[in-house]
């Protein structure tokens, strides 16, 4: 039994235990421990993450259609699996305490919740372990349906969003299937190696068809433009920690598959050769531009949300663009940035969702217009969110900065000013949006009804804090993660980034140990300067400048709705919901066709058709 077998076995057992014992008081903890065991099994293969091991095979394999299906882990799978299991562990931990009890009391089935979560982890591991194109597709479908399950758990509105998801996902899967089978028709095998050998000889037209099919298939899961509409709402409606899990890792599976098939097997150099007629662009540029628009548009949609979970979920869509952008650029800096961003993003996105869920747990709402001032009541949650938003916005000293820096730097090296501009526009939008998030929830006026709110229970705070530590430490010592991404780069055949514990070793590099230390010392001096001044006096929040009026507890004295009116004056009219229109257009086209077909089956006189056919056939014979 190899380490991979052990991992998959434990993961399968986790699903079983979750389904059996999920409703018990200790059920959640049991499952959490099992995730930890999965993590341990993964660590048995940690050689993959440091290039000392190249591949770990599973001893399980089956033969179908004279194809040997096999499963194995390489550095890429290991890296994604690490994030997956981590996200599963923390989400399950978060769900095991008070949150779970509340969920059960409100009529939710914890058994189903934990089961669905464990199933998601398991299916993702199966996908990550896929060793050929057919197992990739099988894993792909399993993952799609597992996430459908967890999205649909909440019922009601969530059903509609889950339905939308599965419609997109299945259409994407069919595009993918078409692409994979086309590869089979061209190459004659589902084997990775055969594709890799055949790709350089493929005709440009075939390759275009392949790239379009595969990218749309993978893109649906990643929610890149124009397939981005399903994700935010579906994730936002997923119960509590489920949203944290999905937000952190689920749509990264699309990226994983994209890396495996398009980057590793077909190769970016092939994409560069595929020029789009009558333009200066090639397929790589096209993908990069899709990535940039995936950064910009969803980020600015997020800016307009007033539900915390939706806001985060829309940012999730936007952040995908950075990862794709980095990976498509495919130089040592960009791909390291893209890969590292997967890890970084997962760490702070899970944490941010957890904070929001904790706030919902205590206050019952995630409406940004109905919160405020919770800093004094939930300081630890505030701290977690602060660290999270600094990460999400990509500012030092958190890990999000490092990955974004790598991506920016790769664009400078690549000489793509417009892509760079797009990436920065996205970052600026993110800063605006996350400030609104933290301001409307934690800063400003505390509402009367929230005066009695307490800090979230320990079962929630500890996972949040653990993630916060990860976000900070991997920002301080990015080399920890860069080791893994370098192993991945080596295994997928991209130039490896020269790095050290503090960051990138190159001319005009980055050393986060120095940067963060200086920043911390700077804060120290700032504190010193601050306390050199006279003693300050704390006042009640209502003891405020109010233009000559007295404030009472009932006075709404918090600026939340339409937070950026100046900006919206200008860019408001640019929100045209074009993609919603497009989607509706497709639906109504199908609807019209469907009505026509029903009309055909209901009204048309089939006998006439038959007669026509007879006359046609007979006349053919006679003539």
């Amino acid at each position: 039994m190899t380490a991979l077998d052990t991992l998959l076995l434990i993961s399968a057992i986790t699903v079983g235990v979750a389904l059996l014992a999920g409703n018990w008081r200790v059920g959640g903890w049991l499952v959490t421990i099992l995730y930890a065991l999965q993590g341990a099994a993964l660590l048995m293969m940690s050689g993959l993450g440091y290039s000392t091991l190249t591949v770990v095979q599973s001893s399980f394999s089956i033969e179908v259609l004279s194809e040997q299906l096999l499963w194995r882990f390489d550095a890429l799978s290991w890296f994604f699996a690490l994030i997956t299991i981590g996200a599963g562990l923390f989400s399950s931990w978060f769900a095991s305490g008070e949150w779970g009890e509340r969920y059960r009391d409100n009529g939710g089935s914890l058994r189903l919740f934990h089961g669905a979560l464990a199933l998601n982890v398991f299916t993702m591991l199966v996908l990550l372990a896929s060793g050929d194109l057919l197992t990739l597709f099988i894993g792909w479908e399993l993952v799609s349906w597992a996430s459908f399950l967890i999205m649909a758990l909440a019922g009601g509105k969530a059903f509609g969003y889950a339905m939308r998801y599965i419609s997109y996902a299945f259409a994407g899967a069919m595009a993918l299937l078409g692409g994979l089978l086309l590869i089979y028709a061209e190459v004659g095998s589902f084997d990775f190696q055969s594709l890799k050998e055949a790709a350089p000889q493929m005709q440009a037209s075939t390759l275009w068809l392949l790239v379009v099919l595969l990218t749309s298939g993978f893109g649906v899961k990643m929610a890149i433009l124009p397939f981005h509409l399903w994700q935010a709402k579906a994730y936002a409606q997923t119960p509590g920690p489920g949203a944290a899990f999905l937000g952190a890792i689920s749509s990264r599976m699309g990226l994983f598959a994209f890396i495996v098939v398009v980057v590793q097997l077909i190769g970016i150099s092939r994409l560069v050769e595929m020029e789009i007629p009558f333009t200066f662009l090639d397929a790589q540029d096209l993908l990069a531009w899709i990535a940039v628009f995936t950064i910009i548009i969803p980020t600015y949609i997020a800016l307009r949300q007033h539900d915390a979970r939706r806001l985060l979920a829309w940012h999730g869509v936007g952040q995908t663009g950075y990862m794709l952008l980095g990976i498509v650029i495919a130089n040592d800096l960009g791909s390291a940035g893209g890969l590292m961003h997967v890890f970084n993003y997962a760490s702070y996105q899970a944490m941010l969702f957890m904070v929001v869920v904790a706030v919902i747990h205590r206050t019952g709402t995630s409406d940004l217009n109905k919160l405020g001032g919770l800093f004094t009541r939930m300081p630890l949650s505030y701290l977690a969110m602060l660290i999270g938003i600094i990460g999400l916005a990509g500012l030092p000293p958190m890990n999000g900065f490092v990955s974004k820096w790598l991506i920016y730097r790769s664009l400078i090296v690549d000489g793509s000013p417009l892509l760079f501009l797009g990436a920065v526009i996205g970052t600026l939008g993110t800063i605006l949006s996350v400030y609104k998030l933290i301001h409307n929830i934690f800063l400003g006026q505390l509402r009367v009804e929230h005066v009695a709110v307490r800090e979230a229970p320990l079962s929630m705070v500890i996972p949040m804090m653990a993630l916060a530590v990860i976000v900070f430490v991997t920002g301080y010592f990015p080399g920890l993660v860069l080791d893994w991404t370098s192993a991945v780069q080596a295994s997928i055949g991209i130039p490896v980034l020269a790095h050290h514990l503090g960051g990138v070793s190159m001319k005009g590099g980055l050393d986060m140990i120095w940067i963060v230390s200086v920043l911390l010392i700077g804060f120290g001096f700032g504190t010193l300067v601050f306390f050199l001044g006279g003693r300050s006096r704390r006042v009640h929040q209502l003891d405020n400048y109010a233009g000559g009026h007295f404030l009472t507890a009932e006075t709404r004295y918090h600026y939340s709705d339409n937070f950026y009116p100046g900006l919206m004056h200008l860019i408001g009219p640019w929100y045209r919901n074009s993609f919603e229109w497009l989607e509706r257009g497709v639906i109504s086209a199908v609807d019209t066709l469907s009505t026509a077909m029903q009309g055909l089956y209901r009204n048309a006189h089939p006998s006439y058709l038959l007669l026509a056919a007879v006359v046609f056939a007979l006349s053919w014979v006679i003539v």
Partner: protein, 488 residues
């Protein structure tokens, strides 16, 4: 070998005797039908292994081919004869008032169906086909509602036309070759039927027999009939009878008609069937109609599969057919208590959790989610098509994949309704135990298939190989014909 004759004769005989038996004992009349079917099924199964080595032919009525009635049994034919018998047994009509009539109709259906599958000449095929059609009228109208009469009438009109066309096609064949024996036709076809006349004959027969196989555009009866007939009858018609009609077309394709145009016609009609069926299903507002439309789509896929030249096509079609054989009846059985508007299904999963779970499983397999058998069947169809590298086949692949997305959408709309947290105002009916048990049995078959994919695929492949082996067919039916030349 003679035992196989019993597969046809026993049910027919019992059907005719049933009213007499009823006079003697109602209890016996009630049980004899299922028992006879069980017996025939056992006979069929006992013959099954020996057919693996070599197919059998039987001259019935004392004359040698081509004059006598030829029965030809290979595993391919027997598979469908067995499907017919076992299918009828599982889907035995259960109506309180007309038990006697529906029992004898069911027996007739099983008998004629087996006959159809095992027949070795065109005329017998036509006769059995007509008989089967008439029996189905009775079954469909059996509910006695005005809706079912109206739909039966529509079915009758179309079937009538279809039969006339098929007959015209057979006439053309006879005019060209002077024989209707399939083995002999197989010998003569390359020389006499490889022309426009042969092609016309094929098209006529395709349309004629296509009525039952839900071929576009002669499938206009399907939605109304399945929506109004009882679910068990719909399950039988959609699940089993349609496959028998398909079997005829497959036989004709293998033995007689080798024109590439024939394949093109099949492909085009198949694509149209898939597109029209799945699109129409997308807007269907009640479950029975939805299933009816989707079965048009599925049959379309089978036609597409048939249009793939060579062994691969037959193999793929066979895989899709067997999958559908398990799946569709099971779905129709579940629809029995879930008729009417889909909106009313809201929350039905709470009252019947097992049925709802089964529906999810069936839906997943139908749309082709790995590792369920539906996926592999679909894979078998698409892979050889892409290898052909022709535009029309690419179109077919595109239509199939797009149709699958539509299918996922509308089937999961139903699933969502089933699991809706706000139950509908009306209370939901629980499934009859027998219905649910049968559906579960068939669904269990699908799950079992997941674990036996490889042996199953091998078995289907060998069946397909045997079916496509034309020379064995000719030799088995009439060895002396080959030596003495053809008899005029």
């Amino acid at each position: 070998m003679n035992l196989l004759v019993l597969m046809i004769a026993l049910p027919l005989l019992t059907a005719f005797l049933l009213s007499s038996i009823n006079r003697i004992s109602t209890l016996a009349a009630r049980w004899i039908g299922p028992l006879v079917l069980l017996a025939t099924a056992v006979i069929g199964l006992s013959v099954w292994p020996q057919l693996g080595a070599a197919p059998l032919a039987l001259q019935w009525g004392g004359f040698q081919a081509p004059l006598g009635i030829t029965l030809y049994a290979d595993q391919f034919a027997l598979l469908f004869a067995l499907a017919m018998t076992i299918g009828t047994l599982l889907l035995w009509p259960r109506s309180a008032e007309n038990q006697l009539r529906s029992s004898s109709l069911a027996l007739l259906l099983a008998g004629t169906g087996s006959g159809l599958a095992l027949s070795g000449d065109l005329f017998n095929i036509y006769v059995f086909y007509e008989l089967m059609t008439v029996v189905s009228y009775g079954l469909i109208a059996g509910r006695g509602t005005s809706g079912s009469f109206a739909s039966t009438l529509r079915y009758l009109v179309i079937s009538g036309f279809g039969a006339a066309l098929a007959l015209a096609g057979i006439a053309l064949v006879y005019q060209a070759t002077g024989t209707l024996n399939l083995a002999q036709l197989a010998q003569l076809a390359p020389e006499k039927l490889n022309n426009l006349q042969g092609f016309a004959a094929f098209v006529l027969m395709l349309i004629g027999f296509g009525v039952k196989a839900e071929l576009f555009p002669v499938n206009m009866w399907v939605p109304e009939v399945y929506a109004t007939a009882s679910s068990r009858v719909s399950a039988l018609l959609a699940g089993v009878v349609s496959k028998l009609a398909l079997l005829i077309i497959m036989r004709l394709l293998i033995l007689v008609f080798h024109q590439p145009e024939a394949l093109t016609v099949l492909l085009v009609l198949g694509i149209l069937g898939v597109a029209s069926g799945e699109l129409a299903a997308w807007r269907a507002r009640d479950l029975n109609r939805m299933l009816a439309f989707s079965s048009i789509g599925q049959l379309g896929v089978m036609f597409i599969a048939l249009s793939i030249p060579g062994n691969a096509g037959i193999f793929a079609a066979l895989a899709v057919m067997v999958h559908h054989l398990f799946l569709k009846p099971s779905m129709f059985l579940l629809a029995e208590r879930w008729g009417g508007s889909i909106e009313k299904l809201a929350g039905a999963a709470r009252t019947s959790p097992i049925a709802a779970a089964l529906f999810v499983l069936l839906a997943l397999s139908l749309i082709g989610v790995p590792p369920l058998p539906g996926f592999w069947a679909k894979l078998l169809v698409i892979m050889p098509m892409l290898a052909l590298d022709q535009p029309l086949y690419y179109l077919a692949v595109f239509v199939m994949l797009a149709a699958a997305s539509l299918e996922a959408n509308y089937l999961f709309r139903v699933v969502m309704k089933l699991y809706d947290k706000q139950p509908a105002a009306t209370s939901h009916k629980v499934h009859a135990t027998a219905d649910l048990a049968t559906a579960l049995f068939l669904g269990g078959g699908l799950i079992a298939a997941v674990f036996m994919l490889v042996p199953l695929a091998d078995r289907l492949d060998s069946i397909a190989a045997q079916a496509t082996d034309v020379s064995t067919y000719i030799q088995t039916v009439a060895p002396q014909q080959l030596q003495s030349g053809r008899v005029q």
